[in-house]
Point group: C2
Chain length 339, copies 2
């Protein structure tokens, strides 16, 4: 399969993106089209020591950065590496696209260029939630839709269930709604209405509300929330873990005894850290987009980016989008039959 | 001063609440009215070995528990320990009220019984955010108002600033708005509109958006969000910290070497844990209520509850409510003068 890579998206672009792409074509069964400034990319590829035929370059003169407002970026930076990569996917020159760039612009661009799967109102961004059991949960939306309606959350639950089944191999995945209490009446207007809808939905295994202190406990397979809440949650967990590891490191440096402890604990702390390391998880799809669109973490290094490319390969192989299309076609038929 | 205590609120009521109240009257300059079933409370007081005159009992026949829907509880459980405690504050028999019970019901009850400070649209629940610098930030709202308008968040910022000044002694406290990006255009409709209002408000030192991964970094003095988001944040931080400490404990038990490390690290890990221990922080006020209404953590033990009573004493001594009244009276005068 051929993957269009936005070589100028993310904090460490283009260097780490190019390196990650080189590792990807060496380790995975794929070809890559690097999209971005041709001269720079030729140099970077040479620096990375790659001269094979599995990577080609597609020139794009502009770059969308983190400061760009999504809609403006899509409208005015048509020759950006991100938009050109999406177009390659649209016109069939690529089977998937991977970017570590501006999430909002990527989402808006994918929406604009590739469109939605018929029947899906709002595509969503998924992420893996690390758990204390070293399993993975799926959480969505984590930032694509800052404002959501209850019906959007219900659809996320359906898409997330299918994703957990296909990608994580979980049968009849347990779906939970993020809320500020486990009781049915708790929450804001959105969560109360979404709860009611999800409870009635026969296509998902809805198990009720989940409080954010339980998210890493591992009993939920699919965790549903609006994009604002999901983004806040991921970053709060990331920030807390990083702060705690920082404080533990300081504690280890206090006395000779603690320094010796540090040496003995080092491999175990490293193992713990890797459980929370986003670069291990690869990329996450924009679910509901009519195409394979994978988002890599903004701070991806080469390894993380290679893993994101791997996610694109796996996502394509599972045929998840075909299943989503079939599910929503079936629902629309049922809706039509009711009329 | 006299403090009305809801003796039947919280996971460990009434035992730990009674014990905490006994410690409070022994250590602090206050008297306590324990509110709840008289027979049980007499027994518990005797068990706690207290026979002094600084604790009296006010009978109340009902209990509001965590399952009760707030508005129903306020309407139908008028003789509950929580509602009677609030009434004692209303009719002047107590100067403050402290409860570890159902937050929603407490808020609704305080709103109903004591009312708001004139000019304040939505009172809010505050909390202390632990930081890596071992300083404290104020975060609000953390659960009283699940749905908010931009104007509510602007008022929270004013109340929070005054609170940080008075209780934490911070001059010109730096105010941040929780958002999913630092750029002005980021976020949901609520955060975008609140940002615009806060930017224009001359009474606060607004410094922009803060992402949830930075909350514990310590640079923000006052952190503003709606109650749904605030509650999600606190519990996500609590859950992550607790999960990590659990995993670290497991790592320490792996080999003889790590067990020795554990012994050497024990006091330092304990110190870290205490930084995140809510029981150390005492209670938090419902800011904007026309009375001193302090919420203790639901899982408060005796020590935590004593600290919550201490918070009530400190809050009363600072005269914060008088300042809030003066601020909003002044603003209303200004608004009237503009007409």
């Amino acid at each position: 399969m051929r993957i269009a890579v936005d070589a100028f998206g993310g904090d460490n672009a283009p260097d780490e993106i190019v390196k990650g792409s080189v590792q990807a074509v060496l380790n995975l069964n794929c070809e890559i089209i690097l999209v971005g400034d041709e001269t720079i990319l030729k140099n970077k590829l040479a620096q990375a020591g790659y001269s094979g035929s599995k990577i080609t370059i597609q020139h794009a003169s502009e770059v969308i950065d983190g400061e760009d407002a999504p809609v403006d970026a899509v409208r005015h930076k048509k020759d950006s590496s991100m938009m050109v990569a999406l177009s390659l996917c649209k016109n069939g020159e690529a089977d998937a696209v991977v970017s570590a760039g501006n999430t909002g612009a990527y989402f808006a661009g994918a929406f604009h260029v590739l469109g939605r799967i018929k029947g899906i109102r709002r595509p969503a961004l998924t992420a893996f939630m690390p758990t204390v059991n070293n399993t993975k949960s799926v959480i969505m939306d984590v930032g694509a839709n800052a404002d959501c309606k209850p019906e959007n959350l219900e659809q996320f639950a359906q898409m997330g269930s299918l994703y957990a089944e296909k990608i994580l191999g979980i049968q009849n995945p347990k779906v939970y709604l993020v809320n500020i209490g486990t009781e049915e009446h708790k929450g804001n207007e959105l969560s109360q209405k979404a709860h009611a809808l999800m409870k009635e939905n026969k296509n998902i295994n809805f198990c009720g509300n989940i409080e954010s202190r339980e998210l890493t406990a591992g009993f939920a397979d699919v965790i549903i929330c609006d994009g604002f809440t999901g983004n806040i949650i991921l970053k709060a967990i990331e920030g807390t873990a990083s702060a705690l590891f920082g404080l533990i490191k300081k504690s280890f440096m206090k006395t000779l005894a603690t320094k010796i402890s540090a040496l003995m604990m080092k491999p175990h702390i490293k193992e713990l850290k890797s459980m929370l390391d986003y670069s291990e998880y690869g990329g996450v799809p924009l679910l509901g987009i009519d195409g394979v669109v994978i988002k890599a973490h903004g701070s991806s290094d080469a390894k993380a980016f290679e893993n994101a490319v791997r996610s694109a390969v796996v996502f394509s192989e599972t045929g998840l989008n075909a299943d989503l299309k079939a599910l929503y076609a079936q629902q629309q038929d049922q809706d039509a039959a009711k009329m």
